[in-house]
């Protein structure tokens, strides 16, 4: 996920004044305390407290159940398998995006990222077209993978492909190929040169990507529910069932704690990996390392990767588009036209208005995420002490805590003035921002750290105020990273489903919520409109990501 620092970073930025850092951290800390830690703690406490008495013994009771241990085991091994499979399929992709120059590369890089920011509710059904009955595999070899664990694993590849391509590929593109060439000149075989020169430089990025994929698949929800059928359950799915359906808050609380500990451990390892990676690498501008493929071997690699992307990523997305156009009267825009009509049914507004709602919410969420994440990244810039590193991990935690826990937490924690936000529109962007902040931090941090501390010092010595130092030194350098971070937070907010569905209000559903509601009703028009809205969501996300591609700079890497 996180990207390499440039060689400038080797020039150890000095510790910033700790007072400044505390000030910078104040707002993010308050934000996380109020909108994350407090609600989650409140709902967990509610589960573990029976008639005013604490029952920590519940933890042992729940862990003693064979069912729960089975869920834990499945959660872990499917995440390991998903991570391995994702690396296997996506690493060649990372190589191709890093080293080859080909027509449409920018567009394709945006396209492979679309699944990552789309809600599962949208693509789950389309993914069945690849692996379900009558799907591609069925047509070719009569193989059906729906409701098998393969459906889960392949869908995880689909959703997380971009994490590997962007994290590993981003660094790979900046590694100087001449180093490898030098090794070969000294007599190393092609493989030996790659193994001794490129691989060591790359491995921390691979480790970071693997850990992020592991985190996302460990907490997988929609994929497992929709594609795995009722026989598979991850911790996240089980937390949802226990909270939302069975209403066994005690079990849910214990499971939340378990997931919390596991995610915390994953993130701590991730943070350590990132730190180890902060050794100075000789990096070069990516555009100088990519070239047209040469020779049959390279063309074969490129073709293979493009084919795997076409089958695994583009096909399921294409199915959505196809179904949105496939009306009873032949191909056409009938379902799209229907979106504009206000039938007074499940929506109090025409479904098309969900687009406006989504954009408004996502903009507000982006603004919050950029402010909170930007401040946090600024606070984390200097040489990190233990406290600051802990803070870094804390900022990532919302990615690993179930939306239903946060949602129920909001309900019982934010119910009194001045924080009675339960019926306020701001709740949706707040919840979305929780997911957006980690992306902002991870995008901004490497860039901020790459700013030479001596520049700041020089400015201070010359009498500039801290604000002016930031404006004159930092801002010009990070402006692009800031926009990229904002763009990514925006795309993630657009696609956010779990928390949004929990708190969205009826008169203003977002796109994913509207899609889910349409899919929840019988009738051709409802299904068709759901497909049309999904396609619109996909296009909006793709456009946002494409704009980001155009803004990518030489050194920001990351997302």
């Amino acid at each position: 996920m996180d990207l390499a620092r440039t060689e400038v970073a080797g020039a150890a930025p000095r510790r910033r004044g700790s007072a400044t850092r505390l000030w910078l951290m104040a707002l993010p800390v308050v934000f996380f305390a109020v909108f994350f830690a407090y609600p989650v703690a409140a709902i967990v406490a509610r589960g573990l407290e029976v008639d005013g008495v604490w029952r920590p013994g519940r933890i042992g009771e729940v862990l003693g159940q064979a069912d729960i241990r089975h869920v834990l085991w499945f959660t872990t091994w499917q995440a390991l398998a998903s991570t391995a499979l994702t690396l296997l399929i996506a690493l060649p992709g990372a190589y191709v995006f890093a080293r080859f120059d080909f027509r449409g590369k920018q567009v394709l890089r945006a396209v492979v990222t679309v699944p990552f920011v789309l809600p599962t509710v949208v693509v789950g059904t389309a993914f069945l077209a690849l692996i379900g009955r009558g799907g591609l595999l069925d047509g070719l070899w009569g193989v059906r993978l729906d409701t098998t664990v393969w459906a889960i694993l392949l869908a995880h590849v689909f959703f997380n492909y971009a994490v590997v391509v962007r994290t590993v590929g981003g660094l790979w593109a900046q590694l100087d190929p001449r180093q490898e060439e030098a090794a070969r000149m000294l007599g190393a075989s092609r493989f030996a040169a790659w193994r001794t020169v490129t691989l060591p430089a790359l491995s921390p990025a691979v480790a970071a990507a693997a850990l992020m994929v592991f985190l996302f698949t460990f907490t997988s929800f929609g994929v497992v529910q929709i594609l795995g059928g009722p026989t598979f359950s991850t911790l996240e799915v089980e937390i949802y069932r226990q909270t939302s359906e069975i209403f066994d808050l005690a079990t849910a609380a214990v499971l939340t704690i378990i997931q919390f500990v596991a995610v915390g451990a994953i993130l701590a390892v991730h943070a350590a990996t990132v730190r180890r990676r902060e050794t100075a690498l000789r990096l070069v501008a990516p555009e100088t390392t990519a070239r047209r493929p040469r020779g049959a071997g390279q063309w074969a690699v490129l073709t293979g990767v493009l084919a795997s992307i076409a089958v695994l990523l583009v096909l399921p997305l294409g199915v959505l588009v196809q179904r949105s156009l496939d009306t009873p009267g032949g191909f056409g825009f009938g379902y799209y036209r229907a979106l504009a009509s206000d039938d007074g049914g499940i929506f109090l507004v025409a479904p098309i208005e969900a687009i406006g709602n989504s954009l408004e919410y996502a903009l507000a969420a982006t603004a919050i995420a950029v402010v909170i994440g930007g401040l946090a990244a600024a606070a984390l810039t200097g040489r990190a002490g233990r406290l600051v590193r802990g803070f870094d991990v804390l900022l990532m935690l919302p990615l690993g805590v179930s939306a239903v826990t946060v949602g129920f937490g909001f309900l019982i924690a934010l119910d009194e003035p001045p924080l009675d936000l339960r019926s306020s529109w701001i709740l949706v962007p707040l919840a979305q921002a929780l997911v957006g902040v980690p992306f902002v931090v991870r995008t901004m941090l490497p860039v901020l750290r790459a700013v030479d501390g001596r520049l700041r010092e020089a400015a201070s010595v010359l009498g500039a105020s801290p604000w002016r130092v930031w404006r004159e030194v930092d801002l010009p350098m990070v402006r692009r990273a800031l926009l990229i971070a904002a763009g990514f937070a925006f795309a993630v907010s657009l696609g956010e489903f779990g928390a949004t569905v929990f708190i969205a209000r009826p008169d203003n559903p977002t796109l994913p919520v509207a899609v889910a509601r349409l899919l929840g009703r019988a009738g051709d028009l409802n299904y068709g409109q759901a497909m049309a809205l999904s396609t619109i969501l996909m296009v909006v996300c793709a456009v946002a990501l494409l704009l980001l591609e155009r803004m990518r700079t030489d050194r920001t890497g990351e997302f």
Partner: protein
């Protein structure tokens, strides 16, 4: 890059930051703005499927002088659970949408306070519960039934099944898809239907036969209906191969209403002997801030105009004896003559155990 472009970018960044600060400062105060303490607003908390004609609610607002606020709070189970979690400081005044499978959970947790709305005496007798305290009022009913794909059965010259017993016959092997009883309300309804039909002692034997006859279980209604059922729009596109699905008696009329152009007849039908009746209730929340408005709203929910408005919006049947039902309903989705039923108390007593046994019997 040109200076102009860079100025633009700087402005954009500044706008984003400023917007963020405004948003943050707004969130401190926005809570009080939406507070419903004033007696002119009445809030209805419900599930995502709540739907109505706008003009009708508008008329109620005009006549009563109340402004109605509606809060849809997730699927049926979620909405009930949320209401229980927040019962000391509820999000609204009236809750609509607790059905007979969850009624006891709501009553045992003290979710509602007594009120008998005007017109209660005209509610079909068999739907009434809690007659001593009147904490809840039935509002609508609907049947969970096996739906069939007409085209499939006419193509294969096979008569569609009509009863639970039919479903375990070899002729219908590998044709049925149902939902997970522990996470889906139609899935649970179907399980309860079999429990009502074959009794506490017999339903497990029935499910063993159903399993041997190739029943497929998926997690939710959306997957069962849109992905697996060959009679639905999604199913046709996905080349689905299950012509039998556990859904609602009102799904066939929905297939007619939500089609363009409208077909002369519904593409799907209902197996009448496989139905379990669901009744949905509403009640005045225990700590409602506007009890007067809440009572007026409950009166409205069982008024003729609302009862007759429900079918085409929520695809359910009215509970008032003489409320009229649209023709498309009578024609394509009539209520079952002899649905299976279970008293809420019996459901409450057995639900968890049944679902547990069902899970280990069918899913493992």
């Amino acid at each position: 890059m040109s200076t102009k472009a860079s100025t633009k970018r700087r402005t954009a960044a500044a706008v984003v930051v400023a917007l963020g600060l405004v948003t943050l400062s707004a969130c401190g105060s926005s809570g009080s703005g939406d507070k419903t303490a004033d007696s002119r607003t009445v809030t209805l908390v419900s599930h995502d499927s709540f739907a109505y004609s706008k003009s009708l609610l508008h008329a109620f607002e005009q006549e009563s002088g109340y402004k109605v606020r509606i809060l849809k709070d997730g699927d049926a189970g979620q909405a009930v659970n949320k209401a229980i979690l927040t019962k000391d400081n509820p999000q609204g005044d009236v809750f609509f949408g607790v059905d007979n499978t969850l009624l006891s959970r709501a009553l045992d947790n003290g979710l509602f306070q007594p009120y008998e709305p005007k017109g209660s005496d005209q509610i079909v007798q068999r739907y009434r519960v809690d007659q001593e305290k009147h904490r809840v009022t039935p509002i609508d009913s609907g049947d969970i039934c096996v739906n069939y794909d007409k085209a499939y059965f006419s193509k294969h010259e096979l008569a569609p099944p009509t009863s639970f017993d039919d479903l375990i016959k070899p002729a219908y092997k590998n044709l049925l898809v149902t939902e997970n009883a522990s996470t889906s309300s139609p899935g649970l309804g179907f399980l309860l239907g079999t429990a009502a039909k074959y009794g506490d002692a017999g339903w497990q034997g029935y499910w063993k036969k159903l399993k041997a006859n190739g029943v497929k279980v998926v997690d939710g209604w959306e997957q069962a209906y849109n992905d697996e059922f060959s009679g639905s729009a999604g199913g046709k596109k996905a080349k689905a191969d299950r012509p039998l699905v556990v859904s609602y008696a009102s799904s066939p009329p929905a297939e007619v209403v939500y089609a363009d152009p409208k077909p002369k007849t519904a593409p799907t039908g209902v197996a009448n002997g496989t139905c379990f009746r669901q009744v949905e209730y509403a009640g005045l929340l225990s700590n409602a801030k506007n009890t007067k408005g809440g009572k007026a709203l409950l009166d409205f929910l069982i008024s003729f105009r609302f009862q007759e408005d429900m079918p085409l919006n929520m695809f359910v049947y009215p509970v008032r004896e003489t409320a009229k039902v649209p023709e498309v309903f009578v024609k394509f989705g009539p209520q079952a003559a002899h649905p299976e039923t279970l008293a809420p108390a019996e459901i409450a007593k057995n639900r968890d155990q049944w679902v547990k046994s069902w899970t280990s019997l069918v899913l493992k």
